[in-house]
């Protein structure tokens, strides 16, 4: 397990990771759920579920649906709130050496700032700003589809944040590069993409939407070509590191994102299918490097030959 460390270790905007393979927000709980199944210390970073100031129950009704090579989710940011996170959950997670990144979601710009303030000296490794959740009425994706609003949120968070700030972009936009440039100018230390694509499924037996929330976010292999395209476009346009995700199931999928310009990747839906996905993908990247005589993963980043 440790043999690949040298080749895989990366530093994303100051967050030091043993491997470039992170666990994506909302798909890895608070990390501890997976502790019995894999060695959390062998994961690049754990991005915890979207956190709000107050506890949230999330959406009612059915929350997930399968689609061809993908899934829809409409969890609706269920979470225990930042207080309980800091008091009850983070102490468990901080026993591991893995960097913990907290994904934050506010209903107003001020709430994002307040979340950053409350998390400032907690010992977390980074903040990921979720301006891209398609499953909540207020905030969420609204901030993620307008460059000015996105920049305002990032600016506010940067005022209070003591750790690197990652802006997570929504793919539900006409111009992903404009969004990336806006958050970079506002001070984002890194950019992650993509969040889920807004989708819908209807049950042809009951004539009802499959999801209680009517619409939900599409993730999984189905969206990978869209994600790779957006990572490629954004990585060319910004200077900050890009964290790529969207449908990564295998080491080859991860390499595709690295070649497109991602400095690290995150694994989401794959965790549900294979709980060892994040560590196995890291091992697979190490093998890939070894087979090609490469000594570090950075030798892949952005190397697509156009």
């Amino acid at each position: 397990m440790n043999s690949y460390n040298a080749a895989l270790a990366v530093d994303i905007a100051g967050i030091k990771m043993k491997t470039p393979v992170m666990a994506a927000s909302g798909t890895f709980g608070f990390g501890v759920e997976y502790a019995g199944l894999l060695d959390l210390n062998q994961i690049g970073a754990v991005v915890v579920k979207g956190m709000t100031l107050k506890p949230r129950d999330g959406n009612t009704g059915r929350r997930i649906a399968e689609t061809p090579a993908g899934m829809l989710n409409a969890i609706g940011l269920e979470n225990p709130g930042v207080d309980r996170f800091l008091k009850e959950i983070f102490p468990q997670l901080s026993q591991y050496q893995v960097p913990v990144i907290v994904n934050i979601a506010g209903g107003t710009i001020e709430e994002y700032g307040e979340l950053a303030r409350q998390l400032a000296n907690s010992g977390i490794a980074g903040l990921e700003i979720n301006i891209s959740c398609p499953n909540v009425k207020q905030g969420g994706m609204v901030f993620g589809t307008d460059p000015n609003s996105a920049a305002a949120v990032v600016g506010e968070v940067k005022k209070y944040a003591a750790v690197p700030v990652i802006a997570k972009l929504s793919p539900n936009v006409t111009d992903i590069v404009a969004m990336a440039r806006a958050v970079e100018s506002a001070g984002a230390d890194a950019i992650s993409l993509i969040n889920t694509l807004l989708g819908m499924a209807i049950d042809v037996h009951s004539w009802r939407p499959v999801l209680g929330n009517i619409v939900g976010g599409l993730s999984g292999p189905a969206v990978r070509p869209i994600a790779v395209r957006m990572v490629w476009q954004v990585a060319k346009a910004v200077k900050v590191p890009v964290i790529g995700m969207g449908g990564i199931m295998t080491a080859e999928d991860a390499v595709e994102f690295l070649l497109a310009g991602a400095s690290a990747v995150a694994v989401g839906t794959a965790n549900f299918i294979n709980p060892h996905a994040a560590t196995q993908i890291a091992e697979g990247i190490a093998d890939y490097l070894r087979q090609r005589g490469l000594c570090h993963v950075s030798q892949l980043v952005g190397q697509v030959r156009i």
Partner: protein
């Protein structure tokens, strides 16, 4: 030893009814620590079609033989694929998952509707040699595979069907009041459709008998990470059906 991912070989795969099969797998690690009420989360295809795992209650586990069994109904694409699995094939299982039934009782009554009887079969086995009674509810005679499975383990198997084609016409809860009045039961275990569970919980509350229920919800991770399966407890706190449950005390989650 707790939850594991295990590549399990098919030992046998039998038809019990026209849409119901029993699958027995060699999964020594899961078999070793499985308790009644727990489930396995299974990949039914190596491709992305379907993408997600499927949860099935453990209907039996034999730690000596290293085998576990599930009993399932074919209802959609995933179970249709699963039905094609053959002796010698391998299936990827995650388990045992979830919280098991509490076995601390003397005279239990098991109430199951439809495929909800699967976890109760394993429970009946582990409750032996205590006297076990079961109410087996279902739609129609053709799906009533359960009495034969429960008979060797139980004192008494009462049957209800929606259409009256076997046993009493009606639903399981129709039989409950009389049984509870006469039977001196000290624990009810229930698994089945939600309306049935609500009915059972109401009646047992009236009779002041402790009751455990097993809930179902659509699941992605099966281990408490994705929050696909949560519900609110009666205390207002959230519960994850996959990891805080699927077994709960009735009053914890039902009105």
């Amino acid at each position: 030893m707790s939850k594991q991912m295990e590549q399990a070989g098919v030992v046998s795969h039998l038809w019990l009814a026209s849409t119901i099969k029993m699958l027995t797998l060699r999964a020594p690690v899961i078999a070793q620590c499985a308790e009644p009420g727990q489930f396995i989360h299974m990949r039914v295809a190596d491709s992305y079609h379907p993408l997600l795992r499927r949860p099935f209650s453990i209907a039996d586990a034999d730690p000596q033989a290293g085998t576990i069994s599930i009993i399932y109904r074919i209802v959609g694409a995933g179970t249709e694929l699963l039905a094609k699995v053959k002796d010698g094939d391998q299936v990827n299982c995650l388990g045992p998952l979830g919280k098991a039934f509490e076995l601390n009782c003397h005279k239990p009554l098991l109430v199951g509707g439809g495929m909800g009887l699967a976890p109760l079969l394993f429970l009946a086995r582990r409750l032996c040699p205590r006297p076990v009674q079961v109410i087996s509810g279902g739609r129609t005679a053709a799906e009533m595979v359960w009495p034969a499975l429960f008979q060797p383990l139980c004192e008494n198997v009462a049957i209800t069907t929606d259409d009256g084609s076997v046993g009493r016409r009606g639903v399981t809860t129709d039989l409950l009041p009389k049984l509870l009045t006469d039977g001196q039961f000290d624990r009810i275990y229930a698994c089945g459709p939600r309306p049935m569970l609500i009915g059972v919980a109401e009646i047992t509350k009236k009779f002041k008998i402790s009751c455990q229920v097993s809930l179902e919800e659509h699941m992605a991770c099966g281990i408490g990470a994705c929050l696909a399966c949560t519900c609110s407890g009666t205390d207002g706190l959230r519960r994850k059906i996959c990891s805080d449950g699927p077994v709960f005390w009735a009053e914890e989650v039902l009105p």
